[in-house]
């Protein structure tokens, strides 16, 4: 079994060394290297599922314990901004998927265009998130010494249910989980955008349009994973208590 024979039979870039420069020597072929890298990326993403899963679990339990407080807290969020941000993030996932396609068909300009689109949409998402966070500070709905239960004990909306002061205090738990979960999600976005700048720079140098698609593909997996987390955060935090 000559492993080099497979490498040059499967892959189209015979450099003077007998295989493409990005193929590591411990792999038989580019596709095997890509599969191994994909597998490793998925294992990492599963650890991320567990990390966010713990927070989702805490949300589920506290929501059922302090249901009225969670409903009241959820109703203070801006559903229009939340829906817009969901659409923005889905669009950024689409442009990221198109980046993978551009790398696969080896179009450098197209790859750079879609990576840049993904960066812009990522910043739009963070910007809208910033507006929402700012509103929470203005309303004194950030857990801590400045937190005010006034809005929940004496709601300005006459249709809203007034909470007892004891239960109104529990809205701090809702907002703690809100800031924890959206904050962790935003941190993942910031890390993702930083990596995107690096990928854009390397794409400009032509690193990913000569058959070496793997870094773009694996980053795409990370970006889509962050999108999936938001797909669950959006209904849990914004939607499911809306009609009470």
């Amino acid at each position: 079994m000559d492993s080099q024979a497979y490498a040059s039979a499967t892959d189209t870039l015979p450099a003077e060394h007998g295989h493409p420069p990005f193929l590591r020597h411990h792999f038989e072929s580019v596709s095997q290297q890509r599969e191994a890298a994909n597998f490793g990326m998925w294992v990492f993403l599963l650890t991320e599922v567990m990390f966010f899963g713990g927070m989702f679990c805490a949300y589920l339990i506290f929501r059922n314990w302090y249901h009225p407080a969670f409903v009241a807290g959820s109703n203070t969020l801006d559903i229009t901004l939340g829906t817009t941000n969901t659409a923005v993030l889905i669009a950024s996932s689409f442009t990221m998927a198109m980046s993978v396609y551009a790398a696969e068909i080896r179009r450098r300009g197209m790859l750079m265009f879609f990576l840049a689109c993904t960066i812009v949409l990522g910043f739009v998402f963070l910007g809208i998130k910033g507006v929402e966070y700012h509103q929470k500070f203005v309303d004194h709905h950030v857990p801590g010494p400045s937190f005010s239960i006034e809005e929940f004990v004496h709601p300005s909306n006459p249709k809203a249910l007034a909470l007892t002061p004891d239960m109104a205090e529990k809205t701090q738990l809702y907002f703690s989980l809100y800031f924890l979960m959206t904050g962790m999600h935003a941190l993942h976005m910031i890390i993702g955008i930083s990596l995107l700048f690096f990928l854009l720079w390397r794409a400009y140098q032509g690193a990913y349009t000569e058959g070496h698609v793997m870094p773009i593909e694996n980053f795409g997996l990370y970006w889509h994973f962050v999108d999936i987390i938001w797909i669950f955060l959006f209904p849990l935090l914004y939607l499911i208590s809306r009609y009470r």
Binding site: G53, C57, W65, M96, V100, E217, G220, F232
Partner: protein, 112 residues
């Protein structure tokens, strides 16, 4: 030796499948499906369905996540190893959630 050759051939075939290039129309279709589902889940949240508000919102979220995993993340086109990896991870996650919930439901559910 023959058996080994067959295995290698099989692996190569599987790897060739893994290199499948997903075309833009597929990505576009999934993109619009996700946008429609987002509009649907937002709209449904204004209709009072009692406990089913949460059920429907989470069902739509699971469906959207499946679309992303299968098509944007290429699992639909991937090798069995990757399909098994994702399945095993989600199974383990559900197991952990169920065990935690079993504990909480049987002890202090609804008490403050």
């Amino acid at each position: 030796m023959d058996l080994h050759n067959e295995t290698v051939e099989h692996n190569r075939a599987e790897h060739a499948g893994e290199m499948h290039i997903v075309r833009p129309p597929v990505y576009l279709g999934i993109f619009f499906a996700l946008l429609v589902l987002t509009a649907l889940t937002t709209g449904m949240s204004y209709v009072d369905l009692g406990v089913f508000n949460a059920v429907i919102a989470l069902a739509i979220a699971c469906f959207k996540a499946s679309l992303v995993v299968l098509f944007f993340m290429h699992i639909h086109y991937s090798s069995r190893l990757l399909k098994m990896t994702v399945g095993a991870g989600l199974f383990t996650f559900m197991l952990l959630i169920s065990l935690t919930m079993t504990d909480y439901i049987s002890r202090a559910w609804g008490r403050f």
